[in-house]
């Protein structure tokens, strides 16, 4: 291997390179050492807190954490942000199984059935929470009910975040769709909705509705489940049994969705961000979206308002989920830390008005009833969603950011693109779901 030696005479340039990099290296080393030394303070509880909120939500959450940290000198909450969806939930389960998970985590309420039965999370002690002035009565009934599992509260909801409709008030006014109260006159049937959208399209000259869905199973599912639940239909997932579902209602919902993408009512295809951008530009009259996009739209500066998705099939319903606090199961519970966690959660709940500014409906009723919240628009125009929210059907594999929603996309995307029949797409998805249900239940 001697031949691999560096030829002599070329050393000068290499030395120069080395000197430069050595200087850079020592700089980094110095920074690294200071970084390691500064965290030792025994009296303070360090609380690890995982969440999956990024973008505008992440900024708001960081503000809530900083505020709570300032209020409680005895505890410092250190957030860790992981990628939304499977990466987050996988890691959370692995950490809990490993016994040294974070002291506190955010979880979608729809995911709790995958975590509570297997003992990956601990129930909340309502007595301890009451010491900080938070009780069951402080939550809207539907949300409180959702936080129970086998009669115990396994999650404490921070919000509910329904799938709603934003509309451009200027476009709606020109199209003559605004009522006396200045709000959109909600269409009450699929036909009326399509007509409303077409009227708006005449105003925008582009599209009536924006709804980006390409590549996002979550997005397709949110609208689908809203429409499905508006049929008053139920959906149940029981391991060992085929899925209980109203097939006709499901297919009708899918067919209606597919009929939207005719390049007049809505653009034939586009992903979530394309849809939002189109609405923000004023190239459409309506946008179906999660409430969490509110800050983005406000920044865009267009005149708009919001409402729950119009009831097209008789029964008011809005797909929603709740960001909820859960206690991942610890190998050794540190009592001081857990008390600090309870304090932190109650502080965040009480400060959730700022969370409402990000679009979410606070779960903590004293905030909802506060004068400040009642004056928040457009939030207050969809606050009624809290009474009609529909969470995902319960099972260990369903819920926000689950693989199940990815499967939905795999079978339904081609229906929406007009390549498959709605019945074929649905049957394939139902078959996939039944396969999952037939497999051993791992929780």
């Amino acid at each position: 291997m001697r031949q691999l030696d560096i030829p002599t005479g070329k050393h000068v340039s290499r030395r120069q390179l080395l000197a430069g990099s050595a200087a850079l290296g020592s700089m980094i080393l110095a920074t690294g050492l200071t970084g390691c030394g500064g965290t030792a303070n025994a009296a303070v509880h360090d609380i690890a807190f995982w969440h999956l909120l990024s973008g505008g939500d992440g900024v708001k959450m960081q503000a809530l954490i900083s505020a709570a940290n300032k209020m409680t000198p005895g505890a410092v909450v250190h957030p860790t942000v992981l990628a939304w969806g499977p990466p987050y939930y996988t890691k959370l389960a692995m950490a809990s199984a490993g016994g040294r998970p974070p002291e506190l985590a955010i979880m979608h309420a729809s995911r709790v059935p995958g975590y509570a039965p297997g003992g990956l999370i601990d129930p909340w002690d309502m007595g301890l929470l009451a010491e900080h002035g938070v009780t069951a009565a402080d939550f809207a009934p539907r949300i409180w009910e959702k936080s129970q599992h086998n009669g115990q509260p396994f999650s404490i909801a921070l919000d509910s975040h329904p799938f709603v409709m934003f509309y451009n008030t200027e476009v709606a006014a020109i199209a003559g769709m605004l009522g006396a109260d200045g709000q959109l006159q909600a269409p009450a049937s699929p036909q009326e909705f399509l007509e409303t959208a077409r009227e708006m399209q005449k105003v925008t000259q582009a599209h009536g509705l924006s709804f980006g869905y390409l590549g996002s199973g979550s997005q397709m599912w949110r609208l689908f489940y809203t429409l499905y639940k508006q049929h008053g239909a139920a959906m149940e997932l029981t391991p060992g049994q085929p899925m209980k579902v109203d097939r006709d209602a499901a297919i009708e919902s899918l067919e209606f969705m597919a009929s939207l993408f005719d390049d007049t009512v809505a653009a034939k295809s586009g992903d979530i961000s394309t849809g939002i951008a189109e609405f923000a530009r004023g190239d459409s009259g309506m946008l179906f979206s999660g409430v969490w996009e509110l800050p983005t739209l406000q920044k865009a500066g267009l005149p708009f308002d919001a409402a729950t998705i119009p009831t097209l099939y008789g029964t008011p319903a809005a797909y929603a989920d709740s960001h909820s606090f859960v206690l991942p199961r610890q190998l050794n519970v540190d009592d001081g830390k857990r008390r600090a966690v309870y304090k932190f959660v109650s502080d965040v709940l009480k400060g959730s008005l700022s969370w409402a500014q990000a679009g979410h409906i606070p779960a903590y009723q004293p905030v909802v009833q506060s004068q400040e919240y009642q004056e928040l628009t457009p939030q207050i125009h969809y606050a009624n969603a809290a009474d009609i929210i529909a969470y995902d059907p319960e099972s260990w594999f369903s819920g926000s950011g689950s693989d199940w929603q990815t499967f939905f996309a795999e079978h339904v995307q081609n229906v929406l693109l007009g390549r498959d029949k709605a019945s074929d797409g649905w049957d394939a998805f139902e078959h996939r779901t039944n396969t999952l249900l037939s497999r051993p239940n791992p929780v």
């Binding site: 560096i6 996988t90 389960a93």
Partner: protein, 311 residues
């Protein structure tokens, strides 16, 4: 090469008196196992035990949450063999192995051949080709995700500057695997390149001198001397590369997470997802063993091919 010396020495001690033989044997037995003990302890606890226990797990319904420990025999295997997602991910792994091994060997050979000519500033060339190998997969993925960015990425920008259409590198099911291969080529070709370079420089110069006297040109020398001399090295590199490629997980998980719509998901990711995302440790252990079986088959096949070639 060394086996003659190893066996020769103990034989020579046969002339010693019988009593000393016995005590020496005993001492050797004790010493031998004592020297082997630390390694053996780790080997048994962290390799043999998981290997056996994993097989046991594959016969149970074991879950990440601890629920459902019951023995279910080969039900997991039966389910896996009928699981189209598993076959698809195995197919993706094999596809990646085939389309990555070829460039990873050929480009390495070209690099080594170019350098072997004796360019000045050898260290600079070696640094350029080999440096990516020193990066963690995460760094490579960050670099390439950024360069593949459809709107802001360097690659698409360069393509459109020379009048070519933009490519949705990581978002197009037909392209994504090739994008992964390109990133992998950049990342690990330096390793094969080093092995080739070392092998080339071990070829005795007399071979070339004789050929030069016969009037053989550079190309002829390369094809009639260098390549044949490298054949055993090539066999080894291909073997190692195939085994390395079969283990593909990092880059895919980091760059596409297996998407778009499952088109890049390798079998290791499927094992990870069934076990940790889907909780079904027993089932994913069964898939692990099916994958292991595949690796054993590939290795044995390659071993026999290699033996035939070198024989």
């Amino acid at each position: 090469m060394s086996s003659p010396t190893t066996t020769a020495t103990p034989r020579s001690s046969a002339i010693a008196p019988p009593a000393r033989i016995i005590s020496r044997r005993r001492r050797d037995n004790i010493n031998g196992w004592a020297f082997a003990a630390p390694f053996l302890a780790f080997f048994l606890v962290f390799l043999v035990w998981p290997l056996l226990y994993g097989f046991f797990m594959s016969m149970t319904g074991k879950s990440l949450t601890g629920a459902n420990d019951s023995l279910i025999g080969f039900a997991n295997y039966a389910e896996a063999l009928a699981d189209s997602d598993m076959w698809r991910s195995l197919g993706n792994t094999l596809y990646f192995t085939v389309i990555s091994t070829v460039p990873l060997v050929l480009v390495a050979l070209v690099m080594a051949a170019l350098l072997n000519v004796g360019l000045p500033a050898q260290w600079l060339w070696r640094l350029s080709y080999f440096a990516p190998y020193l990066l963690a997969s995460t760094v490579v993925s960050l670099f390439f995700t950024w360069m593949y960015n459809p709107q802001l990425g360097l690659i698409n920008d360069s393509l459109s500057k020379i009048g070519l259409p933009k490519v949705a590198w990581l978002n197009d099911p037909n392209v994504a695997m090739w994008a992964i291969v390109i990133a992998t080529l950049w990342w690990t070709v330096g390793f094969n390149f080093l092995l080739y370079l070392a092998a080339m420089q071990n070829i005795p110069a007399q071979h070339y001198e004789a050929a030069s006297l016969d009037g053989a040109g550079a190309w002829r020398q390369f094809f009639s001397i260098t390549l044949p001399q490298l054949a055993p090295t090539t066999v080894m590199i291909v073997l190692l590369q195939v085994l390395a490629s079969l283990k593909i997980f990092d880059q895919v998980y980091q760059m596409t997470a297996g998407g778009p719509s499952g088109s890049t998901r390798p079998v290791v990711q499927y094992i990870f997802e069934t076990g940790f995302t889907g909780y079904r440790l027993g089932y994913s252990a069964a898939i692990s063993y099916i994958f292991f079986g595949l690796i054993v088959i590939v290795s044995v096949l390659q071993f026999f091919i290699a033996r035939r070639r070198s024989a």
